[in-house]
Structures are given as C-alpha cells and as structure tokens.
C-alpha cells in the first residue's frame, strides 16, 4: 500500500511537471499564433492591422494577462480537459477533435501492439526453448529480418501491392466513405477490413523486437541455477519453461510493453499517415502541417498523459509479477 501511495504521488508530480512544461514551452517561443495567422493572411511585407490582430486574438483566446494568471487559468482548463478551439477545424474544440480521433488510434494501434507483444513474446519463448533447432533458426532469423525493415517502407509496399495493385484491402480510411459509425455487424466487419492492413504492418514490424528480446532474456534465464534445479527436480517441461524460465524472463519485457502501450498514441503517426487513418497520429500530422497550435498542444498533452499513466500501470503490474518489488510489506 505504501508502495502504491509512493507511486501515485510520483505520478501526480510527473503529470504536473508535464502539464507545466506543455504550458511554458509555447509561451517561451517568440510571437504568437495570431500574428502567425495574420502574417499568413496578409502576405509578406504588408503592415498588420492591429484591430484585426486583436479580433483574431480574442477569437483564439490569446491572452496578454500575466504568465501566472494565465497559468492558473490553464491549469483549471486542463483539469476540465478544455484545450480551447482547433484553428483548422474551427469551430470544433480540441477536445472534440481528439475525442473523434482517439478511439481509432486506441483500437488500431492498441490492439496491434498487444497482439505483437503476445505473438512476439510467445514465439520468443518457443525459439529459446528449442534453441539451435529448426524452429529457432527460422523464427529468429526471420524476425531479425522483419525487425530491420524501415516501417514506412514496409507499409508503403504493403499498400502498393495489396491495396493498389490487387485491391484486396481499401487504400485509406477507417471505414467506407459514406457510412457513419454504428454498432452493426456490417460496420464492424468494414472497420476490420480497413484496419487489417495497418494492423498487420504494425504487428509484423514490431513483433521481431519482442521476439528477440524475449529470446535473449529466456536464454539468460536458462543459465540460472534455479532452472537447472527445476530440471533436476524432474518437473514437467512445460512447467519448467513457463514457471521457472518464462516467468522470470518476461519481467524486463513487461516494462517494455507498458512503455509501448504509452506510446501507442504517439507512435502511430507513420501508420496513420500512410493509411490516412483518422487517428491521433493523423490529426497531429495535420495540426503540424497547418500550424494548429491548440490541437498540437492538446495532442502532446494526451501523449504525455498516456506515457505517464502507462508507466504507472507498469509499476503496479510489476508488483503483481515480481515479488521482489513488493517492499514495505514484510
């Protein structure tokens, strides 16, 4: 319990630092979005009309109050998840835009990250258990190969052959154009059809990392005395592989997995851009292209939030799987 409280305090502290930095960094930059916008409208060299500038500042909610009072206001807004209005998708709020994009990213990238972790770790266990046998050689060298692909290249090749040439999968989007999200079998199948290729590319390109990591951990653990003793005890092979080897070897991978889950929101940019998938990555990409500062800031905050929360979850999970972390109990 004390461990939990300490971790939780740490979580709150990190969150505060992240939120504060997210507030400070844009404000430390010279200029403000309104003048950028004006400059864009007016073209170069022309004088900026102060009245128009003021109007835009009011519209975008840019304040000239002291940094401190802005900060308090900002904190209040963040707590209510109010990040202001998006410039590019005006008059929608940033919250709305993120709310629209987040489920797609969580669904696509979240599921494929979980899948790639499960498959990769499972194959890693298998490869290590049958080390230097046929299965190991094939699986390990293949995953070293797929792991070396640049992700965007692999995704582009997949799109080109499977969607463009053969038309087996749709080129873009999360669902067919003209339909709107409903909870019907047809729509769900459509979503799966659209999501399959992006998910496949993510799974294939990230699985190798899990596999190689798990295999290495397993092989290290296989050298431990308690594994030798487990063999001497005449325990069943599966039990030794599971409870004595994999159970210990998976510990570092669990941290990695929680971190990966945290980066689900952030790491999907390339996938979503290549497949024009309407998720957070795609929204961030558009926000950057269009200098949509509130949206960017909102998305950054969400990304940071996810990473921190995932870290926290990893700490809690670790307590469950590794008794040595359970301090303050005995």
């Amino acid at each position: 319990m004390r461990y939990f409280a300490r971790r939780f305090t740490f979580l709150i502290g990190t969150l505060w630092v992240a939120i504060t930095l997210n507030f400070l960094i844009p404000r430390l930059m010279p200029g403000n979005p309104a003048s950028v916008m004006m400059a864009k409208f007016m073209g170069r060299g022309q004088p900026i009309n102060p009245a128009a500038l003021h109007a835009i500042e009011v519209m975008l909610g840019i304040s000239h109050a002291s940094l401190m009072s802005q900060y308090w206001q900002y904190l209040g807004q963040v707590v209510r998840f109010n990040f202001g209005l998006s410039y590019t998708q005006f008059p929608y709020s940033v919250r709305y835009v993120i709310g629209q994009a987040l489920p797609w990213t969580l669904g696509l990238v979240g599921l494929s990250t979980i899948l790639s972790f499960i498959i990769g770790t499972g194959l890693g266990i298998l490869a290590a258990w049958r080390r230097n046998k046929m299965t190991d050689t094939i699986v390990t060298s293949l995953s070293a190969f797929t792991n070396a692909f640049p992700y965007f290249w692999f995704a582009l090749v997949a799109v080109y052959f499977l969607s463009f040439i053969h038309n087996w999968f749709p080129l873009t989007g999360a669902y067919a154009i003209g339909t709107s999200p409903t909870f019907s079998i047809g729509f769900i199948l459509d979503v799966i059809h659209h999501g399959f290729l992006p998910a496949l590319t993510i799974v294939i390109s990230s699985m190798g990392g899990w596999l190689l990591g798990m295999r290495n951990n397993m092989i290290n653990t296989l050298g431990e005395d308690y594994v030798l003793l487990a063999t001497a005890k005449g325990l069943k092979n599966r039990w030794v592989a599971g409870m004595y080897v994999a159970r210990n070897a998976i510990l570092p991978n669990i941290t990695g997995f929680a971190m990966a889950l945290g980066f689900v929101v952030a790491g999907s940019l390339l996938t979503e851009v290549v497949f024009a998938y309407p998720g957070i990555g795609y929204a961030l990409y558009n926000a950057v292209i269009n200098e949509d500062y509130p949206l960017m800031q909102g998305i950054f905050l969400i990304i940071v939030l996810c990473v921190i929360v995932a870290n926290f979850a990893a700490d809690l999970l670790y307590v469950l799987v590794d008794p040595r972390v359970r301090r303050g109990r005995a």
Partner: protein
C-alpha cells in the same frame, strides 16, 4: 548394497579441441553411504557430480561410460523416461543456494510443484511433508509463505537442503553446499546433515574442495586430480595414512591446531592443461616423490589394502605401522 555405480565415465567440454574434465572415472556409492568427493577447483569434481545426475549442460557432454543408479542406466535413458526418477531417486543441492530458488515463487510452491508432479498427494500431505523437512534443517515453518529474497543466505541453503529431502531420495548430490557460507553457518549445516542421517536413510555424494570439512561428515573419500580419481579410502584411515602424494599434500595444507601449532603448506605449481593428452602421471610435475617412470607411464588405479591409489611410487610402499587395512 551398491546404489550408484559409475563406470569409466568421461566428460568433455566442447567438441573441437575438447577439454576432458572427467577421465574414465569409476566409483560406487553404497546405500546409506556418505561419500566425499574432493579436489582443487577445476579437477572435474562438480562436472562429475552433474554428469552422475545427468544435469551436464552444453558444451559439457558425456563421451563414454555409464552411470547406473538403482539398476537403471541413467546414461542410456531418454529424458522423458528419466524425469519421474529425478528427485525421487537422485536430488541435488547446488553450490549457490542463493540462486537455486526461483525468485518469483514462494518456498511453499517450490516444494509443492515437485511433490504434486511426482505423486498424487493431497494439499495436506504436501504441507505436512514440507513442515517435516523444514523441521529437519531447523528452519521456521513460516518460510513456506516467503519468497527467496526474504531469506538470508544460510536460510536459503538450508531450505534447498530441505527441498532435496522432500521425496526421500536414495541419493543426494551436494555440490559445495557450504562454500558460500560463513564458518558458523557451515558448522550448523554439517551438524544438521549428521542429525538428518539419524532420522532418514539416504546416500550422499558430498562434493567439496575442503578436505577437512569432508572428513568430518563422510564415510569414504574420493580424491580427484586433473579429472582422474587418484585415491579412494575410508575417511578415518585416510586421515592417518593418506597414500597418494596429492592427498598427503592436501592434508598438509589443512591448518591443524592440534598437531603443530597451526602450520600448513600449499602445493606448488598448477594442474595440467586438460586439453592435452596426459603423458605419465598427471601429478608428476608437482610431486615431491616424482621418479623417472612417472613421466612416461600412466599409473593405473590399484588396490592397496582396502584403498585404491593411482600412484606408481606410493602404491609400492610397505604399509607403515598400525596398518589401515587391519581396521
């Protein structure tokens, strides 16, 4: 009754230019007999112990010879058939008790898994037997619910010894079970083992570099040098009349407060390179009694009274004074 018979066992490390760590070793262990296996580090004693339990790990491999335990040839049996015999017939205690326990399982569940996978036992019986073995080694019954990292080094090693008793094995192989522990804990464990012997019958192969410690516990001592057995003798007579020059040197290297005020000597030189074929006696370069024939003739293991010795010189000596063979 012979329980374990090792015949001409050889173990190599590696295939290209292999290191022959164990060379044609033959030894027997009778039922209820405590045998000590001693020698300096690198002499192949641990390799031999692991090979007897068929726990040799690559690159180690048995190249020839047999290990027969309770009429079952362990060298010629596949892993699947061997599995039910493990721990039931032969259990082991490793040098580093600290690492011999799975860090993510409680002591209780590490006792439980081996019991339920070898026989159909009720949870009550598992607990009962777990308490029994913990009592034998003087460890509190509470450790059942503890994780290994919550125990001290000495406690862990005693827990591991308790674990080796669980299925009442015929033979326990202990590989330097007290080496990582301080003198006080070493002493306690030794006393423990002597007491357990009164409660339960089993054979013991006690592997150690510490001849003094071994002599206190065992009935018979096997001395190894450079992968070979150089002397086998009863513990009591060995102390009075060691035969092989190496055994004599080992005894002289023990501090003995009773005899001459605590002086002891080392053995100059180093053991031979085990990658090379041995020419003559392996101990010849370090031997104080070396003769010309030792350089060329490989000495066989010959009987001298009830002992066996691999030495061309001392095996010819006339037994001195109160002969050990008389006893």
């Amino acid at each position: 009754m012979t329980l374990v018979a090792v015949q001409d066992l050889s173990v190599d490390y590696g295939r290209l230019k292999p290191v022959r760590a164990v060379r044609d070793v033959s030894l027997t262990i009778a039922e209820n007999e405590f045998v000590g296996l001693v020698g300096e580090s690198g002499c192949g004693k641990s390799t031999l112990g692991f090979a007897i339990a068929r726990l040799e790990r690559p690159p180690a491999r048995i190249v020839s010879g047999r290990v027969v335990i309770d009429d079952l040839d362990w060298t010629n049996t596949d892993a699947k058939t061997l599995r039910p015999h493990r721990w039931q017939d032969v259990s082991v205690v490793l040098q580093s008790g600290m690492n011999a326990l799975n860090p993510v399982m409680t002591i209780g569940s590490q006792f439980r898994d081996v019991m339920v996978q070898h026989a159909s036992v009720s949870p009550d019986e598992v607990l009962q037997r777990s308490y029994e073995v913990l009592d034998m080694v003087n460890v509190s019954r509470q450790v059942i619910g503890r994780y290994p990292h919550e125990l001290s080094g000495g406690m862990k090693q005693r827990v591991v010894i308790a674990m080796s008793m669980l299925l009442r094995p015929r033979l326990i192989i202990m590989d330097e079970p007290t080496t990582a522990l301080d003198m006080v804990v070493q002493r306690q464990i030794l006393e423990n083992l002597k007491r357990i012997r009164e409660q339960q019958s089993f054979s013991l192969l006690f592997i150690s570099h510490d001849l003094g410690l071994v002599l206190e516990l065992v009935d018979r001592v096997v001395v190894m040098y450079a992968g070979q057995v150089v002397e086998v003798q009863d513990a009591e007579s060995l102390l009075d009349s060691p035969i092989h020059p190496y055994t004599r040197a080992l005894l002289r290297s023990l501090p003995d407060a009773q005899r001459d005020g605590g002086t002891f000597e080392g053995i100059p030189g180093t053991p031979p390179d085990l990658r090379e074929e041995l020419r003559g006696c392996a101990f010849a370069p370090r031997c104080p009694l070396v003769q010309a024939k030792c350089q060329t003739t490989s000495p066989p293991l010959v009987a001298v009274g009830t002992a066996q010795v691999r030495c061309l010189v001392t095996s010819q000596e006339v037994p001195r004074g109160s002969d050990h063979t008389v006893r």
